[in-house]
């Protein structure tokens, strides 16, 4: 173990002990039950923050700083896939040209979800492949970027895929620096850093995520849980395809089983509703019911799903044919009678329908009398292994979330693949330059993460190790900080204005337990960050509380109540600046106003002798801290976009106009990574 890791582990351990010591004491001995309506939310928020801190510490425990990568094998086949939807052609082409210059032999493709002729022309002129959705996708769910990639996976064949957002300009050595990890045959993914060139040093919008693309990913890597973040990553095609196939098989099996299980009652009901005189149909339904029973039995004996469903469909087909045939018999007799009439009257040509061909055609499921019974038809359709209503049967990239990357990666880990985080800037991208775009993007990431949490909660994924489950959960947990933020804002305001204290006493006990914890917690940050700036991240984790809360509620509405996520599409072009965007951060401004007013009231109450000195001073400090956190919002609202001062630190991507469509931008879990905010209490 390196000395650095030893130091980190020591601090993690001390932080955990001090944190538990504080929070347990808070619950057991210091909650002011007389003011439970404030005291309980506060201690819950503090517990939330402690868990956040413990999860962070768990990651740091296995911090894996990989250093120099292994050299790649020669002769691997690689596709470089550049995803685009509506970004300007020039911007995409700048990325594509840089991709052509990547040194390791590869093929370059532009995945143009916008199906733009001018994009195609530009790609072809530069000698870059151009892929757009195939015919299969017409009228099918498109699944945004995940669908775009899935479509391309069917049309390309390299063993490895480098995935790049349209604005991520790669370095020539990007593959040389990453492919070596795949010498390990179980390695499925290598994620590299995401760095943005159009961001000033003080990063007003918190675009860079130095703590995430650094210690946090390296910590997850230690638990074999480094995340896929949608861009600047190399994936093994095999791993992706396996996800798709396994997923397909699982889903089909589940669907077929479920339908065979409920099928009988559906058919019985349909039979009851069929009039007695329709004996043919009633008999037919009886046969379908028997077919359901047989299929279930055969599956129970372990026969192959494909055989059983095939035979089931054949049986039903026969039943359909018989029903149609009996209708046709009557029809044929009628037609003969009609022909006879026409001959009498001397009109008509008498050449009528060929019953056999009609039989063939009408036996098609939609047009047989069996098809008329919707519930039975739906059942019959579902006992099949095709994917009705999807463009592709096998979809490697997960489509359960608007952030396909996290869900896909979790499934990959579930199948036993490894991932690696390679901490190096190998592509240079563009970040949103205005508050509105930035807020939309963060909302989308948060929503996507919440969707995964609610649809495929990592804690219940039996194929993941516990370390992996906790690493995934850790990121999701950090997105719940919005609720804690409200409490941390309200508590000092309530004390200063009304004098309600959520703790029993501001005793020395309190300070002795809290302060050391806060200090070591910050120390942990300082050590793991190793010179990286983490303050912005800490600020935004609290300051964007309305976004986090909205992400949670809208994802809940989507997953549980089946409502639309209704996330807005990010504006395509940079807004012409029309003054600071105060309207986007109204809740934060109100909160800041309340903090300031409360401080004034608090000081007045102190002067009037209505409030205690220690409590007031402590809460004023807390207010000052909250205001320091929220000050970033003012800065962000006033930000007018990037103006390069010196030469940019990287091969300059186009800086103007900035685009960032939520459709394609990758996912940077926004982890405030921290809890400095957490443990104020008084």
């Amino acid at each position: 173990m390196t000395r650095r890791l030893l130091l980190i582990r020591s601090i993690v351990l001390v932080t955990a002990i001090l944190g538990l010591n504080y929070v347990v004491w808070r619950w057991l001995f210091s909650v002011n039950w007389d003011a439970w309506w404030l005291a309980v939310p506060l201690v819950v928020a503090e517990t939330y923050s402690l868990v956040d801190s413990l999860l962070f510490g768990l990651g740091m425990w296995r911090l894996k700083e990989r250093g120099e990568p292994p050299l790649p094998e020669e002769g691997l086949t690689v596709d470089v896939l550049i995803t685009t939807y509506n970004e300007p052609i020039d911007l995409v082409m700048a990325t594509a040209r840089a991709a052509l210059d990547i040194r390791y032999p590869h093929e370059t493709w532009i995945l143009d979800d916008g199906n733009r002729p001018e994009m195609r022309a530009a790609a072809e002129a530069a000698g870059v492949g151009w892929i757009t959705r195939s015919q299969d996708w017409v009228d099918m769910p498109r699944h945004a970027k995940a669908g775009n990639l899935n479509n391309a996976l069917e049309q390309t064949e390299g063993e490895f895929l480098l995935i790049l957002d349209a604005d991520q300009v790669p370095e020539p050595q990007i593959l040389d620096r990453t492919l070596g990890y795949f010498r390990d045959e179980k390695m499925g993914l290598v994620q590299t850093n995401q760095f943005f060139v159009n961001v000033p040093d003080d990063d007003p919008l918190g675009s860079q995520a130095p703590l995430f693309y650094g210690p946090i990913q390296a910590g997850k890597d230690g638990w074999n849980a480094a995340f896929f973040c949608g861009s600047n990553a190399v994936l093994r095609r095999d791993a992706l395809m396996q996800i798709g196939v396994v997923r397909y098989a699982d889903e089909m099996a589940l669907k077929v089983w479920r339908n065979l299980y409920y099928g009988e009652s559906v058919i019985k009901k349909a039979r009851r509703q069929t009039p007695r005189e329709e004996t043919l149909v009633r008999d037919a339904l009886g046969e379908v019911e028997q077919a359901v029973k047989d299929a279930r039995e055969r599956l129970g004996r372990g026969e192959a799903m494909f055989d059983v469903t095939y035979d089931f469909q054949r049986t039903v087909e026969e039943v359909r044919r018989r029903l149609v045939a009996s209708d046709l018999e009557v029809m044929a007799a009628d037609l003969e009678a009609i022909a006879a009439l026409e001959e009498q009257s001397g009109e008509g040509d008498g050449s009528l329908v060929d019953p056999q061909s009609v039989l063939e055609r009408m036996s098609h499921r939609d047009w047989s009398p069996l098809g008329a019974i919707d519930s039975v038809q739906a059942l019959v359709d579902s006992v099949n292994v095709d994917r009705h209503g999807e463009a592709q049967a096998v979809m490697p990239m997960a489509t359960i979330s608007v952030t396909e990357d996290m869900a896909t990666c979790m499934r990959m880990h579930g199948l036993g693949w490894k991932s690696a985080y390679h901490d190096e800037n190998l592509a240079f991208g563009l970040a949103p330059e205005d508050l509105e775009t930035m807020l939309t993007q963060r909302l989308r990431w948060a929503q996507g993460t919440m969707q995964v949490m609610m649809r495929e909660n990592p804690l219940t994924q039996r194929r993941l190790t516990w370390g992996q489950r906790l690493m995934y959960f850790s990121t999701m947990w950090s997105y719940l900080s919005g609720f804690a933020a409200i409490v941390y804002l309200a508590a000092p305001v309530i004390y200063l204005v009304f004098g309600v204290l959520p703790v029993q006493a501001l005793s020395s006990d309190f300070f002795i337990r809290l302060v050391p914890f806060l200090v070591v917690n910050q120390l942990l940050f300082l050590v793991v960050a190793n010179g990286r700036k983490t303050w912005r991240g800490q600020q935004y984790s609290l300051a964007l509380f309305p976004t986090w809360i909205r992400a949670f509620t809208s994802a809940f509405g989507n997953v549980v109540m089946g409502r639309s996520l209704d996330f807005a599409v990010t504006p395509k072009e940079k807004r012409s600046p029309t003054g600071p965007a105060w309207h986007l951060v109204r809740p934060q401004l109100i909160a800041m106003g309340a903090l300031v007013v409360a401080s004034v009231v608090g000081v007045a109450r102190l002067a009037a002798g209505q409030a205690g000195g220690v409590g007031t001073v402590l809460n004023l400090l807390w207010v000052a801290f909250d205001l320091a956190i929220f000050s970033v919002i003012i800065k962000a609202a006033r930000y007018r976009g990037f103006e390069p001062v010196d030469a940019p630190p990287a091969p300059a991507g186009p800086t103007e106009p900035t685009t960032s469509s939520t459709h394609t931008t990758s996912h940077t879990p926004d982890r405030a990574s921290g809890q400095s905010h957490a443990e104020g209490a008084a």
């Binding site: 329709e278 149909v281 046709l328 029809m331 009628d334 037609l335 009678a337 009528l352 047009w367 009398p369």
Partner: protein, 111 residues
Amino acid sequence: MTEFHVDTTASGIGVVRPEGRLNMVAARQLKSVLADLVAGGTHRIVVDLADTSFIDSSGLGALIGGVKSTRQQGGDLRIARPTEAVLTVLDLTNLTKILRPRDTVDGAFDD
């Protein structure tokens, strides 16, 4: 459930307008509606398919049966305004020869 609107025009033409899916169950109803009309002396009938979203072999059978019984009485059954879904089935089965779709209900007996 499929509904049937039945009208008789001034010139004595019966107009039947099934609404919804003309399937097995509805076909039986249609048969009896048509039979009632014929029995009541209405031998010229237009089936207005503007609101028929679906037809299966039973539904087709009912229409053909109607053609037969009206023609036996010297009248005819014609269909008007079929929807895309219905037209597909008619084309597929080659039945447009007997059941040539007319564009309007009023003009269905003009030729």
